[in-house]
């Protein structure tokens, strides 16, 4: 421990590539690599970490943190792979009984995940009044009736985000009844108001426990193999980090971390905090908005593997346009097909025979270093020009839509297909192309803060008290996630007025974030 331990190692696992970088305390990217993503995910992570450590040579001793952003949880849901069996307790009956749990789920996923569900007395009204007495015996009977044929318990109470005590009491009740080893997941930790969406997200989260344990264990193993003495973190959807223990408890919160990392990385590399970001990949372009350095969040429900959920996700617009997008040689139609990672063999500019948007950009003068297009017929040139114009139009339209009409916002271009974005894009301010933009995702992971969010419903008269209470809870969550208690601060306060209430009522939602604690190990979540 003699060397200065000032380096952060960020890894981002994408669909095609796994990027890894090392960032020093001054914010310089001092090592980077792109490795193919492997089917087991961990192979790509291992290769990425090994490659940047090799670049560091003796300086590898200075690495004190490893941050991982991964789509592993999403893939597990989509592929229905390795999911746990969940016993779901919903509190609030008789309310909401017209919608039994998992209404609207794809049946194959529901059958695989749900061990059983009970709608029992409990829950709260918007003002905190109990809907019905908590049915403690009912919970015990339900769990006993399942005869142990489940891996974890999910609890979802009506208005639990604003009246959280009851879910906590039920957690203790379950632990007392079944033993301390049973994982219990509470909806208040997963999402905001919107019972069915929050319940869905809580069940998905509970189902992902083993998958999350597996990938966190793998990361710990790679770190151990490399002999690193580091703290390890996961990137989450809102552009902040969480500790490994936290990631095992809340794997669903890693699902949007890819776009969030690319936004945070773009902000960091360009030193611009308010901007539109476009991340051009091989198959898609993902666009998002940076507000004060963080991704703007979506307020709409999101579909994950066919299930509607409402947890916080970045507001991302995905276009089916990337460097590998195929241009039809007869009609000139662009996409939706893509050669994806095979671009380096199949693209015209790489000596292949497929017309792609990368070739179109090359024909327009934005070539790939070390590669040249073969001689083209005038028909082919025309086709490529039209394909590129179409891509420009689609990107322009998306930028305009996200910018809400503000033409002064700069556009930060990141990702491998950056040459598809022109410099004179209508509807945006300056087009910025920072250095190392091709590994912005991994940079985003490496530089992230730890964060937490909390919500509170209160009388409009008690607005200040509500914001204070929510702030305190958000800061506590950020510290649990690994933030330095001395440097954590409130970064976002959202207020919504509720109607049909006896008194003017507000919902406040507060987010806190801070740099990672310099204390050796993060405090485990809860």
């Amino acid at each position: 421990m003699s060397a200065v331990r000032d380096l952060s190692l960020g890894v981002d696992v994408g669909g095609t590539n796994t990027d890894a970088v090392v960032v020093d305390a001054a914010g310089s990217v001092i090592a980077w690599t792109k490795q193919p993503t492997t089917a087991d995910v961990i192979g790509g992570i291992r290769a990425g970490i090994a490659a940047v450590l090799a670049q560091l040579a003796a300086d590898r001793e200075r690495v004190s943190r490893v941050m991982l952003g991964t789509t592993h949880a999403t893939n597990a849901i989509v592929a229905r792979r390795g999911l746990d069996r969940v016993a779901l307790v919903r509190l609030g009956a008789p309310a909401a009984t017209e919608w039994p749990p998992l209404t609207g789920w794809p049946s194959d996923l529901g059958d695989q995940v749900l061990a059983g569900a009970a709608m029992l007395g409990g829950g709260h009204m918007v003002d905190g009044t109990p809907i019905a007495p908590l049915d403690r015996d009912g919970i015990r009977r339900f769990l006993d009736g399942l005869g142990g044929r489940f891996d974890s318990v999910a609890v979802c109470g009506i208005f639990a985000p604003s009246s959280p005590e009851q879910e906590r009491e039920v957690e203790q009740l379950v632990l007392d009844h079944l033993g301390e080893g049973v994982p219990v997941f509470l909806s208040q930790d997963i999402g905001p108001d919107g019972l069915l969406e929050r319940e869905n997200a809580t069940v998905l989260n509970a189902a992902l426990r083993s998958v999350a344990s597996e990938v966190t264990r793998a990361l710990v193993d790679v770190v151990a193999e490399e002999g690193l003495d580091v703290s390890t973190f996961f990137a989450q959807n809102d552009g902040t980090l969480m500790s490994l223990d936290y990631a095992v408890r809340y794997p669903v919160l890693t699902i949007g971390s890819g776009p969030a990392n690319s936004l945070r990385g773009a902000a960091f590399l360009s030193s611009v905090e308010n901007a539109i970001v476009v991340d051009v990949g091989g198959t898609t372009s993902d666009l998002g908005v940076l507000v004060d350095g963080f991704p703007r969040e979506s307020t709409l429900p999101r579909d994950i593997g066919g299930v509607r959920t409402n947890f916080r996700m970045p507001d991302i617009l995905s276009l089916g346009i990337g460097g590998g997008t195929i241009i039809d040689p007869r009609t000139g139609a662009v996409g939706p097909g893509s050669v994806g990672y095979r671009i380096a063999e199949e693209g015209l500019v790489f000596g292949g025979s497929t017309l792609t948007l990368t070739d179109a950009a090359a024909a327009a003068g934005h070539g790939i270093r070390g590669h040249a297009l073969p001689s083209l017929s005038s028909g082919q040139r025309d086709l490529l020009a039209r394909g590129l114009a179409h891509a420009h139009e689609r990107i322009e339209e998306a930028v305009e839509r996200l910018s809400l009409g503000r033409v002064d916002l700069p556009l930060i271009v990141v990702g491998g297909g950056a040459q598809l974005v022109p410099d004179d894009l209508t509807g945006a301010g300056d087009v910025l192309r920072p250095d190392r933009a091709d590994v912005a995702n991994a940079v985003g992971a490496a530089i992230s803060l730890a964060g937490g969010r909390a919500e509170q419903i209160s009388d409009a008269d008690d607005r200040d008290a509500a914001i204070a209470a929510a702030s305190e809870a958000a800061i506590a969550k950020a510290i649990q996630a690994g933030a330095d208690p001395l440097a954590v601060e409130i970064v976002d306060v959202l207020e919504t007025a509720l109607s049909y209430t006896a008194r003017p009522t507000l919902k406040v939602s507060v987010k806190a974030a801070g740099p990672l604690s310099h204390l050796a190990a993060p405090i485990p979540a809860r």
Partner: protein, 370 residues
């Protein structure tokens, strides 16, 4: 009792049953009739499909099918959408409501109907009817969505509302003997607040005699037909316009949007700049929960109680006022309301002046007949 041959000649024959397979279309159509308001249809669609799968298809009656022993009551959910996404209805709630309505009315209720066809309240009654084992009347009380209890066809027609019943998620039931709809609105609001922000309500007990001329006929089957066109046509916007006998006022993108929440309502306006053949044109829509007025170059193109719906330019799906976003590509549809709303009393209750616009009502007529 049912005699399909008596169906009105102007509309297609009423289908005899609503099945679970009709509900996606009903939901898409009800969203179009929501004219920007009426609440999200997705959760209603889920539970309605489920109820019909569980209890079987619902018999759909036209006004002509009603016999002397029939009694119909209007049903709807009322309250705050922000509460409605969290504290959803109880499975017994609608049964409790119907039994109390029967007790007060002193007779069996044989059919229910939506108070409004626009939005979620146009979808749920099909599932409630399945659950209750009663028929569904192919009609509603608005022909669209309106925000207030007074804005209902039966009020225009001068049919008195003798009582209303409200049931909450816990099981409480409140019966109101009401003087008029103004008082009903006031008391129903207070009860809804006490119930935690959301109630189910039943009112306006109608018979074959009183329903005729006092409800908007055929709206459930129309909503299903419109929804089916939307979900199956290769050019959904044109198909929906044809089914509704509507004009596409403009196709363009939203270039300005101002919205604020005020007393539980969304108020504001949107500006749409034409694209394609509409390039160079600008239209503004004034809204308060629902789309109320469309203006172009200072001229009123359409106004409440005629119907104005903003739809996605590609899919034809209705976009509710809170889901409008800058830069969205949209088409604006406008079509004529039921003649009942064009009467003096109808315009007094739900004309532009009832919504605070100092504008004369100009009946909307379709120009762009294809």
């Amino acid at each position: 009792m049912a005699s399909p041959s008596l169906s009105p000649p102007t509309t297609a024959r009423v289908p005899e049953h609503v099945t679970a397979d009709d509900i996606a279309a009903l939901a898409a159509g009800a969203a179009i009739f929501g004219t920007g308001g009426g609440g999200a249809v997705y959760t209603s669609q889920m539970t309605t499909e489920r109820a019909i799968r569980e209890h079987g298809p619902v018999r759909l009656l036209s006004l002509d099918d009603l016999g002397p022993d029939d009694a119909v009551i209007m049903m709807s959910g009322i309250g705050a959408p922000t509460v409605g996404i969290e504290m959803l209805s109880s499975v017994q709630q609608v049964e409790t409501l119907l039994r109390e309505a029967e007790r007060v009315a002193g007779r069996e209720i044989t059919a229910i109907m939506p108070a409004e066809i626009g939005g979620s309240n146009g979808v749920s009654p099909a599932g409630w009817a399945a659950r209750l084992g009663v028929a569904l009347l192919d009609a509603d009380g608005m022909g669209r969505a309106f925000p207030e209890a007074t804005m209902i066809s039966t009020n225009v027609a001068g049919v008195p509302c003798e009582f209303a019943v409200l049931s909450d998620v816990v099981g409480n039931v409140v019966t109101l003997r009401t003087v008029d709809l103004g008082w009903l609105e006031r008391h129903a609001r207070a009860v809804t607040v006490a119930a935690g922000g959301i109630c189910l309500g039943a009112h306006y007990l109608l018979t074959a005699e009183t329903a005729r001329g006092a409800v908007i006929p055929g709206t459930i089957s129309t909503a299903i037909r419109v929804g089916r066109a939307l979900l199956t046509a290769s050019e959904p916007v044109a198909a929906v316009a044809d089914e509704l006998d509507a004009d596409v006022l403009i196709s363009g993108k939203i270039v300005d949007l101002s919205r604020r929440t005020e007393g539980g309502f969304v108020r504001g306006s949107i500006t749409i700049a034409g694209i394609g053949t509409d390039r160079g044109r600008l239209q503004r829509i004034e809204l308060r929960n629902e789309n109320l007025v469309v203006l172009e170059d200072g001229e009123v193109l359409a106004t409440v109680p005629d119907l104005i719906t903003v739809v996605d330019i590609e899919t034809g799906h209705a976009i509710s006022t809170e889901m409008l976003r800058y830069g969205q590509r949209v088409s604006v549809l406008a079509w004529a309301c039921d003649p009942l709303w064009r009467s003096d009393r109808g315009l007094e209750i739900a004309g532009p002046r009832a919504f605070g616009y100092d504008l004369p009502y100009v009946p909307f007529e379709r120009k762009d007949a294809r």
